[in-house]
């Protein structure tokens, strides 16, 4: 009769309707549809069907508590499900289902930020604000690049489907498809197709088709790639009733039982040897024989099996790593999947990329190379990616690299390039440098360069003393599925 991760409480489904939660779904659907219906999107059936209602009772939310992350949470009778919070947050009757809202890079009052060469000082500590949104298994990371109000990282009336990522953005009234990513971005009333990746600045009333990878820095450069017809659907497909299918979700679903023992434990503990300078979240799965190097970071909801995470390497939320080696200073971004792959020093695997080797057909990625966000490398033969390269698109054989891989030094000299389905326009040097700079920033923030000094401390060091507090929703009555109103501060 109690909340549990193993057995469904049946009385709610044999009787009580989750009144307030249903009303909340209706409200969100109306708000989003007002803007997106003219663009051909009706989110109502998705909200109705995508998550079985009893799951909203089943999961608990949790938030981390550390000395390094001043918290200020405010949840107003929301539904939070498996959310993870760290840092200043405000949530108002939102549905956050297994979402991560990280506030570990929030700017502070007095910080100076620069947008397009204009400097501005923050009036207040930056907060994350999420109102009436529906975020399902979504990762929100708050390295905000919003010039409008740098104090507030907003997500209003936004519907974000399974395993989509929101990174440093305003995102108002948008719809994000499954496994899609909006990066460093300001969006208004946009539709982002399944497995699309957009890093294109201020967008409004645009529909991005599934499988587009689009990076744009206004006036500087633009990269554009569209998956060939029929490819994305094999990996991810969300039907109009919110049912998700394809190889991505199959892969993830096969491993989801591994998380059950962790989430059943009040204070889970890491079971392997971790160097003092590294951090492995107790909410990550570490399976088989794994090695964790110094300054490494493995965060909550990462799944690591029989792999080596080298010195200064990091594995981010929702990433899946199996039978792979990371030689050091690697970044596997949110949702990246790396299987039977040897990654040289500094290799970066972007958001939601699927780098899938097998024992017979392993993948090797040379040092300093970049696997672009939303790349699929599904090896049908052994594949070797040369060092200092960028690789993108859909690669199943070595020969595919001819049109989907480029040496970074060559790219830096280029202006206009068309290679297969990809086009690049603009300043190649700026593009390569922006990428390298960002990867380096990620390593720095994560503590990869920690040398014992306070200045070099990053997430791997700052999160070490975190405790996790567990929040559960009401189990019965009209409030079932909703959480009490909470204000939590320092």
């Amino acid at each position: 009769m109690h909340c549990t991760t193993a057995v469904l409480p049946n009385y709610n489904y044999n009787g009580t309707i989750m009144e307030k939660l249903e009303a909340l779904f209706d409200h969100i659907a109306a708000r989003v549809n007002v803007n997106l219906k003219p663009m051909g999107i009706d989110v109502r059936p998705l909200l109705k069907n995508a998550i079985p209602r009893e799951r909203h009772l089943l999961y608990y939310a949790f938030y981390a508590l550390t000395e390094d992350h001043p918290i200020s949470f405010k949840f107003v009778n929301s539904n939070l499900a498996g959310s993870y919070f760290l840092g200043k947050t405000q949530v108002d009757r939102s549905v956050l289902y297994k979402s991560d809202v990280r506030g570990d890079e929030l700017k502070q009052k007095g910080d100076v930020v620069e947008f397009n060469g204009v400097k501005t000082k923050l009036f207040y500590d930056e907060v994350i604000r999420i109102i009436n949104s529906y975020l399902v298994k979504t990762l929100i990371h708050n390295h905000s690049k919003n010039p409008q109000i740098p104090e507030v990282f907003r997500i209003l009336n936004t519907v974000a489907m399974h395993y989509s990522n929101i990174h440093g953005t305003t995102t108002e009234g948008a719809y994000l498809g499954a496994f899609s990513t909006v990066d460093l971005s300001v969006l208004h009333n946009c539709v982002i197709g399944d497995f699309s990746y957009v890093q294109a600045g201020d967008l409004s009333r645009i529909t991005i088709e599934p499988g587009r990878v689009w990076l744009r820095a206004n006036g500087l450069f633009e990269f554009n790639y569209l998956y060939p017809e029929g490819v994305v659907e094999q990996y991810v497909k969300l039907d109009e009733n919110g049912k998700l299918s394809g190889k991505f979700i199959d892969y993830v679903d096969d491993l989801k039982e591994d998380f059950v023992p962790i989430y059943s434990t009040a204070t889970p503990e890491s079971i392997i040897d971790i160097p003092d300078s590294a951090y492995v979240s107790p909410y990550a799965v570490i399976k088989g024989t794994c090695e964790i190097g110094e300054n490494a970071l493995v965060v909550q909801r990462a799944h690591i099996e029989n792999s080596v995470i080298g010195k200064g390497a990091n594995a981010q939320e929702n990433c899946y790593i199996a039978n792979s080696i990371f030689e050091g200073n690697n970044v596997t971004a949110h949702g990246g999947k790396v299987i039977w792959t040897r990654n040289g020093q500094n290799v970066f695997v972007g958001f939601n990329s699927f780098v899938h080797g097998t024992e017979k057909n392993p993948i090797t990625i040379g040092r300093d190379s970049i696997v672009m966000p939303h790349t699929i490398i599904d090896a049908e033969e052994p594949i070797e990616i040369p060092e200092n390269s960028a690789v993108w698109g859909y690669v199943t054989r070595q020969a595919d690299l001819e049109t989907q891989c480029v040496n970074l030094d060559e790219l830096a000299k280029a202006t206009d390039v068309t290679l297969g389905n990809a086009t690049f326009k603009g300043d190649g040097k700026a593009f390569v440098e922006a990428f390298k700079h960002r990867i380096d920033h990620i390593r720095e923030e994560n503590g990869a360069y920690f040398d014992g000094s306070d200045k070099t401390r990053g997430h791997a060091q700052k999160t070490q003393d975190a405790c996790f507090n567990i929040l559960q929703p009401f189990q019965a009555g009209p409030d079932a599925g909703m959480y009490p109103t909470m204000t939590i501060g320092n």
Copy 2:
């Protein structure tokens, strides 16, 4: 490196001082000592030594969430350790160590209460307020009998030691010894000795010696019993450094490992068959072969082993029941221990009573009998307590009942009685009726008489849908051991 119930985090003890927690201890000691030092009490060494500091990091607090108990918690950077909350609470930098603060009988705005024949209506919902107190393994139950401000159930600058109980009271600036109880009571600047029980109305600047059991209804009746010299010390002794010894703590300590798996689980579940109308808290231990009857209630921190909890019977916080049978409608009050005992219908076992039979020397208690609070029956031969009796004091053999047991009908006819160490003065009928009325009220509140109607619902029914939310303290830095400031409401 994370909080856990199994391994001590050592970095706090090898380095960081828990600055804010130490400052809080100092502050509480000063406040309590101001009033109690003239009465011979210095709580400073107790606060310094009674609980190893790392335990304040180790345990987590939890609170229950149900539709039936509107919550409004406010914790201001407190230490809460293993506290359990249910209902409206305010805590301000208090130390609550494994305390239970139950708010399941809080009165509401508009409720009419009667004190000494005068009726008054509540202006606000009643709240529990605990400021700068030190409550260790203490149970606070809030059926308040405070005529001064019925809206606020206060406990200010109070130091309450291991397994003491506070029941419906103001309790300002008091010191409560180990296993002591203050019941339905208003205390100001009092010292209550180990294992003393006081139900005596408004008290001020009084010292109660260890092992006194004192019930008084002004002008109506008075019961007084003092344990023979040398007895209480065998069962409970708290030295001036806060070290606790004796048979009570030995018994409890032997069983404390049983609670570890429960507190290590995020959402523990009951493992035995429980009737729909009964409630067994997931935070209770149920061990061996147990039977739970309809309308029965077993609450958090109760420990039940190889026993039958009959229809409408209840087992309250910190009670230990082993190899015993309760035939129905029984009450085992907070801290009651009942071992190898057959309890007839309606038998009541009072606060912290120790009814200790053995397989060879079992105890039988006839129906409708009352084991007075703080009674020790430590059987050296089989003992049979007749039905409809009151039993008190220190009983090891059948013959001891001659001076420590009386038929309730006879007591009801009495005015002045002296029996062994016990004296009774006043209106016997009023005494017996008050007792029976109260026991009946407990059964009613606990839902023992539930017949499916809303009117008869009690705790056993209202707590069924409870979820438990887990709070953990900061693990490092000056805040180590303290909790964030939290406001939690509906």
